[in-house]
């Protein structure tokens, strides 16, 4: 069944979802992911347009990371369809780079910083060849973009949390992808790292790349991103910051957990 034939069936708040052109970096329809018999993400539709920077925002356990993992097929989908540039992920892998949560790996792994960044070149190097000086140079380039060039030969376990996060970003940069999906890149990092990452991501957007970030810090959403998607198992809103990140949508997403005054403060940040 082609995508177009069931567009009418999938609706977003009563309106038919906009038809995705083949150039749409990431289009998700009816995505449902469950752990056991408890849905973590339920029937979410979303479109992430080219050259945009979207924050996926929601309370703890709202399915933000699961949404990304479901879209990438890392956790099995119960239902739904996901298209990257109009194609299934299998056909578009070289255009998609993923930055997992820093805490998801064991950093006492026998690897140096440069080794981890070179992992991003896996598809290019291939199974039978050794990574050459050309590959190493590219990896160094990516380390420089995140300000970690002096740490190339460091064991990864010796890095601070923020430095580890920058190494993960450098690994994604090495893939030279079009779409970057990041899971909580700002969680528990120092101010220097936060600045470095934001400027890299903004640079990507300026170069026409698309960035999607799971983000937990409401106070920086308006400063860092131009689009937002609010999610609490179901999608609450999606679109440009001015439309999607409002006191109504925040209230709907967070319920009573967010006081009116806090929301007003957040909205002020966007003016």
């Amino acid at each position: 069944m082609s995508l177009d034939s069931h567009i009418e069936l999938v609706s977003d708040g009563g309106y038919a979802v906009e038809t995705g052109g083949d150039d749409c970096p990431l289009e998700v329809r009816g995505l449902t992911v469950a752990y056991g018999e408890k849905p973590a993400v339920f029937s979410v539709d979303a479109r992430f347009p080219s050259a945009s920077m979207t924050a996926i925002v929601g309370p703890n356990g709202a399915g933000k990371s699961t949404f990304l993992k479901g879209a990438l097929g890392i956790v099995p989908r119960l239902a739904g369809e996901v298209r990257f540039y109009g194609q299934p992920l299998k056909e578009a892998r070289r255009d998609v780079a993923y930055v997992p949560q820093r805490a998801s790996v064991d950093w006492d792994f026998p690897a140096r910083v440069i080794d981890v960044v070179m992992m991003g070149l896996y598809r290019e190097v291939g199974l039978f060849r050794f990574a050459g000086s050309r590959h190493r140079a590219r990896a160094m380039d990516c380390l420089e973009r995140v300000g970690m060039q002096d740490f190339a030969d460091r064991q990864i376990g010796q890095l601070s949390g923020g430095q580890q996060q920058r190494v993960f970003l450098a690994r994604a940069l090495a893939q030279d992808a079009e779409l970057y999906l990041l899971d909580e890149p700002f969680a528990g990092v120092d101010a220097a790292t936060e600045h470095a990452i934001v400027s890299v991501l903004k640079g990507l957007k300026a170069a026409g790349k698309t960035v999607v970030c799971v983000h937990h810090d409401l106070s920086t959403v308006t400063a860092y991103f131009d689009r937002a998607m609010l999610i609490n198992m179901r999608k609450q809103s999606e679109g440009p910051i001015a439309e999607a990140f409002t006191s109504e949508t925040l209230q709907a997403t967070y319920g009573g957990r967010l006081a009116e005054s806090q929301i007003a403060e957040l909205r002020l940040g966007s003016c």
Partner: protein, 404 residues
């Protein structure tokens, strides 16, 4: 000839054709075990491989029974290997199925599979003892390994399978490394995580079944685990970890087989494992990076630096020092006299420590986000982090010292 002479001759391949063959075979087995085991270790699947190796026993026994019933020689090695591989594969699937489909954890699944399969195997071995005319003698050497009476065909089989395993490790090292470090990310690169894991366990399985004869199924898991664990002390790179683990495995296999050839009636497996353990113990103690000795020395040095710094700052502030280690360090360095009074060098050092502390505090207040200042640890002097020009500029910004 003494045992030592026998051992040395076996070690130099001069103890006869058969011993040489066995030693070389065991060495190759060790290389394959270390290489394949490196990934089992990195993927944290050591216990799964223990279950798999114990699950070979019923396969060995059933293959023996079937071959005897068919009128053949029950001890024909390729047949036994096939049988053991089949039952180990079933054991592995059992562990995976229990883990994936029930609420039981992997540890429970491993314990269940390991004990049930091993128990079944022992029962079948006992049944075999009562069979007639099966030349059943010697089947129990599969438990602890033996090199006595090994045939050339068997040694060649072990060597060939070992070489195949080594080749597979070389080809699959990159995807297996990625899956071991970060399976989610590996999946987004298009690596099939499940199949890579299967290949890894398949490699462990190959080493297990070809090692049954020499090392025995109870201890073969040691040949997968001890070499990479020992190798981990010596390197921070996966490629080198594989090579070092293969080297340690090879040396253990070769030396162990030579030792057991020299000392008659010694089971080969336990000897090989003990040799591997000796190499592990040496690594644990003496590795310059992660060894116990090096860590203790590093810790002590660090502790001394901390005490020295704290002592100097306390002296600069004119505070009394009570910590005995601090006092000892200050005196030994000639910074303080026996009666607790600062020496001239002591005053100089204390002043410098105080200045450094003030510089750091000022720099960190003025440039909170500067990544260079991440290197602040309370011990590193700031002039190792900033250039002389920067330090001079910083000094012009320092708060004016109070007039004395």
């Amino acid at each position: 000839m003494t045992t030592l002479e026998l051992f040395l001759r076996a070690l130099t391949l001069q103890a006869g054709y058969n011993s040489a063959l066995v030693a070389v075979g065991a060495g190759l087995l060790g290389i394959a075990g270390g290489g394949a085991g490196a990934f089992v270790f990195l993927r944290k699947r050591a216990l799964v491989s223990d279950a798999v190796t114990h699950a070979t026993l019923p396969g060995v026994a059933i293959a023996f029974i079937v071959m005897v019933l068919l009128g053949g020689d029950g001890r024909w090695l390729p047949g036994l290997i096939l049988g053991s591989a089949a039952s180990a594969a079933i054991g592995l699937m059992g562990v995976e199925w229990i883990t994936a489909r029930t609420r039981l954890g992997e540890d429970a699944a491993i314990g269940a599979i390991l004990s049930v399969f091993f128990g079944l195997g022992i029962v079948l071995l006992t049944v075999i003892q009562t069979m007639e005319g099966g030349k059943q003698a010697g089947l129990d050497t599969f438990l602890l390994g033996s090199t006595a009476g090994m045939l050339i065909g068997e040694a060649v089989l072990i060597a060939a399978a070992g070489a195949v395993a080594v080749g597979l490790v070389a080809i699959l090292r990159r995807p297996m490394t990625l899956v071991a470090f970060d399976p989610d990310y590996a999946a987004t690169l298009g690596i099939n995580v499940r199949r890579t894991d299967l290949a890894m366990m398949g490699l462990a399985l190959v080493v297990t079944v070809i090692g049954l004869k020499v090392v025995g199924l109870i201890l073969i898991v040691a040949l997968l685990i001890i070499p990479p664990v020992a190798a981990r002390f010596w390197t921070e790179r996966v490629d080198r970890l594989i090579l070092i683990a293969a080297g340690i495995g090879g040396v253990s296999g070769f030396t162990g087989a030579a030792l057991s050839a020299a000392a008659r009636d010694m089971p080969t497996g336990p000897i090989i494992v003990l040799v591997a353990f000796a190499l592990f113990a040496l690594s644990l103690a003496f590795s310059p990076r992660r060894g116990v000795l090096a860590s203790a020395i590093r810790h002590r040095r660090f502790q001394h630096r901390v005490h020295l710094r704290q002592g100097l700052l306390a002296m600069a502030r004119g505070e009394a020092i009570y910590d005995r280690l601090t006092l000892r360090i200050l005196r030994r360095r000639g910074l303080m006299r026996g009666d607790g009074v600062m020496t001239r060098t002591g005053r100089g050092a204390a002043g410098r420590a105080q200045l450094d502390e003030t510089r750091w505090a000022t720099a960190r207040r003025l440039r909170a986000d500067d990544p260079v200042l991440e290197r602040y640890d309370g011990l590193t002097p700031i002039d190792q982090v900033l250039t002389p020009d920067q330090v001079a500029h910083l000094d012009s910004l320092l708060p004016k010292p109070e007039a004395t």
